[in-house]
Amino acid sequence: MIFPTTTFAVFFCIVLVASWLLMPRPRLWRLFIISASFVFYADWDWKFVFLLGFSIFFNQAVGLAIHRLRAQSQRKLVLTIGLIGNLGVLGYFKYYDFFVSSGHNLLQSVGLGFPLGTRQIVLPVGISFFTFMAISYIMDIYRRELEPVSLTKFGAYLSFFPHLVAGPIVRGSELLPQLEEPRDPRRVDTSRAFYLIGTGLFKKVVIANYLATHIVDQVFGAPVQHSSLEMWIGVYAYAVQIYADFSGYTDMAIGLALLLGFKFPQNFDSPYTAVSIQDFWRRWHMTLSRWLRDYVYIPFGGNRKGEPRTYLNLLATMLLGGLWHGAAWSFVIWGGMHGGWLAIGRFRRERGLASDAVTGWKLWRKRIVTFHLVCFAWIFFRAGSENGLSTAWDVIKRLFDNWGAASPAVTSGVVLWIVVGIATQYLPARIPQTIMARFSEARVAVQVVVLALVLMASHTMGPQGVAPFIYFRF
């Protein structure tokens, strides 16, 4: 079940009404929301519901054990078991075939056989997201930053359907306190919720899908058939497509949660206005960035073990971040590029050679350079799986070697949505705030009409059918 479908709309209307009716009875509400979330998840494949159920029981048991044990060594042992359990399940579903094939090919090159064979493993949707949330829960308990909650509260936290399949990655300290007591039914931030749902829908259904079908899939599918101009525009289009797709999804997720009375953390903050790669990661998939910082970079030693180790930690963290996105070397290279650029940026800042606090043309120069570095790395990200590296190389070559050829894929519609996708990130924050404030003051009938028109426009302007969200496969 994906958000911009009639099936989900019916499902959500039922859940919205029932949720507020049951809200005064928290235990019953939690059981209801877990059931609803399982129904939502089962729509993909009912068998994976058992995996989600296992994750809830396993991590709750680990969390309780860590909390009850006194001896640090025992706590650490249980945490290690918890991490192995979580990463083992994630690794099996997501990386088993990748490592087996890579191992086979490595040993094959030196004339040896590999003992394991590949399996046809179907990746459960959203497994990376709920596994990361579960890890944050048990690690926060280990660090004594969080106390374990009841099984139903933890179950509601982990399976809550708005964030279940593609985030944002909500930490226990953010959502669990909201599950402690009923949400106030008199104070719902409806205008922000509807604004996020409306803009998220438009971004995904219209902008992302348009760019995907009109240029991105073509130029990345067969780079040799396209001109250099098409390739440049195609790369920019992909940058806008992935932003509109993913931020559109999380906007909808945050808006839906708000209608149910819950606040999720921000996940995007105008990432293409970033002035450095470090700044980009403060604005792009923010909940993953801070997860990597708190549960990978800092445990690696962060910046506490000297300068060389700091650079190494940055690189290692981003390599793992790349691998998290997919079991392919092109994702690892994408992560490695970002890790390398982060390390270089830090090196330059440490020596006073660079600063994010700039104005005027220097500011724009930094923005343009950062945007192009990000776009360059997106080439590897989009190139994806097995043939990813050769596809990426074809794209990079074609950026330069076929100028002057006809460029039928570069249409006014494509250019328009790229410009819209980037320019809206430069809108002053006051504009959306004003729209939301005006909407909140409008009469109910006006709100209904405005929202209905947004729904109609998105449905009419988008291509027929709704493509899955890019981040579902991560």
Partner: protein, 391 residues
């Protein structure tokens, strides 16, 4: 300065506003300081949400009807149609469909909501002419005495149609989702000299020959042949055609269950008609068979469809070719489905996507090689190089 006592409602409104500032930060540039917004009761959220969905459904009634119509037969489709039809009636009667129609006209997509299920196929080719019976000569043919028997006449190999960069082979690639990745591999492999692909891969997800109301491939190929005049049409259909349901049936025809004689007859008519449309317009059709898939029952269905494709192509040897992909993607040891296959170096490469049906680019490359080999057997695509070199 005059002060007025605040009313209860204004006090309530003030209290029910979200504070501005960092804690009020919202997403994607919507955060920061700005005018305050009112909070509302949950009941209003429900009313606005459901009201907007209902009004939106009326504004979009035609689109919803088409969406419901396009679904595979199921209770969901029946329910969708049962709800969408009255919605469309209300929408049409009240003029609520005007905004959508206006927007579609503005975008040049006025036909988006049309449902065309009629199939127009060329008349079946006439049966081969029956040659008159040869009269038996009772007298002996004259005998010429020769010292050595003449060599048997050797028919010169038929001259292959030649293409060059000046006269490129025009290629159209289209079909359901299974054509997309192999089609892109073909485009990559074809390069940009002797082949002239017509635009990008014309792949339409969840379509086939079974449901012209979802996407009418018969109309589409007729338009392509008329407008673009491709020499070669490379297509893949069938993966969405394994159902006991078809639209666009001739009057009085029912098809029964998938695989029944009536179903096979009708599907055969469509496949053959599609091929004849291409051939009748001067094109050559390469029909890709479906690969083995991870689901045994689906593999069984695909096998049946492949037989029809193979037989229909065989009936038209001058105008159609069936390219088998089944065995290319079967495990060399077990003959079953394989997600990874060894390449020519023996390295394992992922050739199928996680859904157990579609192809990874490496899988697409395997199909592209088969298709290019077939094209090279049929056409002379290389002699222009000799002329260029000698010239």
């Amino acid at each position: 300065m005059e002060t007025r006592p605040r009313s209860r409602s204004s006090r309530r409104n003030r209290e029910d506003r979200v504070p501005s500032g960092p804690l009020a930060g919202t997403d994607n540039g919507a955060g920061g300081r700005g005018p305050r917004r009112r909070l509302h009761p949950a009941g209003q959220a429900i009313v606005v949400g459901i009201g907007a969905l209902l009004l939106g459904a009326l504004l979009n009634a035609r689109g919803l009807h088409k969406t419901a119509q396009s679904m595979n037969p199921s209770w969901k489709r029946d329910l969708g149609l049962a709800l969408a039809k009255p919605l469309q009636t209300v929408s049409d009667d009240t003029g609520l469909d005007y905004p959508r129609r206006g927007l579609q006209a503005l975008l040049g997509r006025s036909s988006d909501d049309d449902i065309v299920s009629q199939i127009v196929l060329p008349p079946p080719p006439p049966p081969p002419p029956v040659s008159p019976p040869v009269k038996k000569h009772h007298h002996k043919p004259p005998v010429h005495h020769r010292t050595t028997p003449p060599p048997p006449p050797v028919a010169p190999p038929p001259k292959k149609p030649a293409f060059s960069p000046h006269h490129p082979l025009r290629v159209y690639i289209g079909g359901d989702s299974l054509i997309i990745v192999p089609g892109e591999s073909m485009l990559r492999a074809m390069g940009s000299k002797v082949y002239k692909p017509l635009d990008s891969v014309d792949g339409h997800v969840s379509t086939g020959l079974e449901r012209p109301d979802v996407f009418n491939w018969f109309d589409r190929i007729r338009q392509v042949m008329k407008k673009d005049k491709p020499n070669v049409v490379i297509v893949a259909f069938g993966a969405n055609d394994d159902h006991s349901y078809m639209t666009g049936l001739p009057k009085g025809v029912s098809i029964g269950d998938f695989g029944s004689p009536a179903w096979i007859k009708e599907y055969r008519r469509r496949v053959g008609g599609f091929m004849d449309t291409v051939i009748g317009n001067g094109g050559f059709v390469i029909y890709l068979g479906m690969p083995i898939v991870s689901s045994p029952s689906e593999s069984h269905d695909f096998d049946l469809i492949n037989k029809i494709l193979y037989q229909e192509a065989k009936k038209r040897p001058k105008g159609a070719l069936y390219v088998d992909t089944w065995f290319q993607f079967a495990d060399p040891k077990t003959g079953g489905y394989a997600e990874y296959l060894p390449n020519k170096n023996g390295d394992l490469v992922k050739v199928r996507s996680n859904d157990g049906v579609h192809f990874e680019p490496a899988g697409g490359d395997i199909i592209a090689r088969l298709v290019l080999k077939a094209l090279n057997q049929r056409y002379d695509l290389t002699s222009w190089k000799k002329h260029t070199a000698s010239g």
